[in-house]
């Protein structure tokens, strides 16, 4: 069986897909990729279904050894990607051979990178999802962060198909996301905004906030102006969504991320829109954000556009063999398949 040997797990690497839904009424958080745009793009680049599970690498520092030849792609926060020490491009279909070492440096900007392997990971789902929820110790790889020495199996058929010419896909530079230390998140005012002083609601939608070092996959804690409640911070515990901005008694907002609890007891001031959740997932301590108020209608429109944009960003290199590059052909002779590589000289 093809497998990936984890030589260095980096800061925090987990298996994630698009999340675990259907169990929130039992208190099970959705988990899943912090940046689903990057996860879906990486999957499309290797020909997987968009929702296939990937490795989510937070801040980087990862080293993996390939147990077989395989096809993979890396998207998300820019980390120095190398194969056997040689720089390799992100946002592009890549091939690696048996024994090759794929490494990611530390993220220069942003937080999470996603490694998709063609064929996907051969891991059993827990409660219908491959996402890791490490707090409760289930999902993904043994319910925990990857460790050095782990051997992650890939599905049967993950070894490299040889028609590589048809396999090279990429996202052009101008269509890749930019990760900046200063961003704007679009947000919809909550029906509980009336539980805050009007000046505080105004302040929320106009002042900058800094991402606190106490942020994690559960929540992005903000520092900056203290928001004042008009009727107390506590509400009867009630359902929340990823992107919900809740404000505890200390007045500092917390934007809920994928490992959030399913219900919360603090008044909600706003909700970050679905289309901007990937940006939320990529925020790192010290980044500055502002909130721009938008409407439900505009947000739903933005989500539709995003759907089309993800698929539309993928290009294929089939008809343009790179100068001085190589092309692979799948040749069958007497019923035996051969990988024929042609190198331009």
């Amino acid at each position: 069986m093809t497998e990936i040997l984890v030589k260095s797990p980096g800061i925090q690497t987990t298996v994630q897909d698009l999340g675990r839904f259907g169990y929130q009424s039992l208190g099970v958080p959705p988990s899943g990729a912090m940046d689903r745009d990057a996860l879906e793009t990486a999957n499309l680049l290797v020909g997987n279904p968009r929702e296939e599970a990937c490795l989510e690498c937070v801040l980087g520092g990862v080293e993996l050894e390939c147990g077989d030849s395989l096809v993979f792609a890396v998207c998300g926060a820019p980390m120095e990607l190398r194969i056997n020490g040689k720089p390799a491009p992100g946002y592009e279909t890549l091939r690696a051979k048996t024994g090759d070492v794929i490494s990611l440096g530390m993220a220069e900007r942003g937080l999470c990178a996603y490694i998709a392997f063609a064929g996907g990971l051969a891991i059993e789902p827990v409660l219908k999802s491959l996402s890791t929820y490490s707090r409760a110790g289930f999902g993904g790889w043994c319910g925990r962060l990857l460790r050095a020495g782990d051997r992650i199996p890939l599905r049967e058929g993950s070894t490299v198909p040889c028609d590589a010419a048809a396999l090279i896909r990429f996202v052009p530079e101008e269509l890749r996301p930019r990760y900046s230390a200063e961003i704007t998140l679009r947000a919809i005012r909550s029906h509980e905004a009336a539980r805050f002083e009007p000046e505080s609601v105004h302040c929320f939608f106009s002042e900058p906030f800094n991402v606190s070092p106490k942020s994690d996959r559960m929540g992005c804690r903000l520092e900056g102006a203290r928001l004042a409640h008009s009727r107390g911070a506590d509400i009867l515990s009630s359902g929340v969504q990823t992107g919900t901005v809740q404000v505890p008694g200390d007045g500092f907002p917390i934007i809920l991320r994928v490992d959030r609890q399913t219900t919360g007891g603090y008044a909600r001031i706003a909700h970050v829109i679905q289309a901007d959740l990937p940006k939320l997932g990529q925020l790192r301590p010290g980044d500055t954000i502002r909130f721009a108020e938008t409407t439900v209608e505009a947000a739903q429109e933005a989500w539709k556009k995003r759907e089309a944009a993800i698929v539309g960003s993928i290009r294929e290199k089939t008809d343009q063999a790179p100068v001085g590059g190589t092309r692979h052909f799948n040749v069958i002779v007497n019923g035996i398949a051969y990988d024929v590589m042609l190198r331009e000289i």
Binding site: L26, I188, L236, S238, G239, T263, H271, W303
Partner: protein, 248 residues
């Protein structure tokens, strides 16, 4: 926002809406939310993803590529207009063994001191009546219970413990609850159940569900150990008493 004498509907971001009823912890608010949740589950709109009921609200999440807010709100309002009184299923009471003895009763003396009672009186009050499971949330399988005697209400500990064992039974103000997994927490721990409240390898994974009642009963520590080992082998399940509807 749309109004009904009993329910109000609001957008909750761009992929959910929330239905709210009276802002209180009460069995009547609970029944309205449960009634609506049952009605939505029975005839789910095509775009529905999940229902997350709580004390006084129902969060309805949906796929906004399949339905926009207006059509989702319309579907929910139409269900609201047709929802009858919640037909409560037969009333289930799950009997939960709790060891209120050392080493499991970390804060029992403190709760007793605060209430001006003897520790054994706290245990009697805590295990006297059944508690309604209003909702599950906070962590997988954590039950929000209603109905604890106010005489044993105790404020949260000033400094939360970093590690509370799974199964610990605690009191925080007027609430009582059970920690499904080892976690930090500031509740006053008065005992521990050997039962496993959440096990992702089980179907359903949660021991309890909203709408059930639980009845604690005291056990000694040797019994705790015996049940814990049986639970570990999958050879123990709690007694469930079923009372037909209307006889509660």
């Amino acid at each position: 926002m749309a109004m009904d004498p009993d329910y109000a509907v609001y957008p909750f971001g761009d992929a959910a809406l929330i239905v709210e009823t009276a802002d209180e912890i009460s069995e009547s608010a609970y029944r309205r939310i449960r009634g609506l949740a049952e009605a939505v589950a029975k005839s789910p709109p095509a775009a529905l993803i999940e229902l997350i009921p709580s004390y006084r609200s129902l969060l309805v999440t949906y796929d906004s590529l399949l339905a926009d807010y207006a059509s989702m709100e319309g579907a929910i309002l139409s269900l609201i207009s047709r929802v009858g009184a919640f037909e409560e299923p037969a009333h289930e009471t799950i009997r939960i063994p709790v060891c209120y003895e050392s080493p499991h009763c970390l804060d029992l003396d403190e709760v007793a001191r605060h209430a001006g009672l003897k520790p054994e009186e706290v245990v009697t009050l805590h295990s006297a009546n059944a508690y309604l499971v209003y909702m599950l949330g906070f962590t997988p399988g954590f039950p929000y219970l209603g109905g604890m005697s106010e005489r044993i209400a105790t404020p949260r500990r000033l400094s939360p413990r970093t590690k509370i064992p799974a199964g610990s039974v605690g009191i925080a103000d007027r609430q009582t609850g059970i920690y499904p997994m080892e976690s930090p927490g500031g509740w006053n721990i008065i005992g521990r159940t050997p039962l496993s409240l959440f096990d992702h390898t089980r179907e359903p994974p949660a021991l309890l569900k909203a709408g059930q009642y639980i009845q604690f009963y005291p056990i000694h520590s040797d019994e705790f150990d015996r049940i814990a080992s049986d639970v570990g082998r999958g050879a123990w399940s709690p007694e469930i008493e079923t009372t037909p509807r209307g006889e509660v």
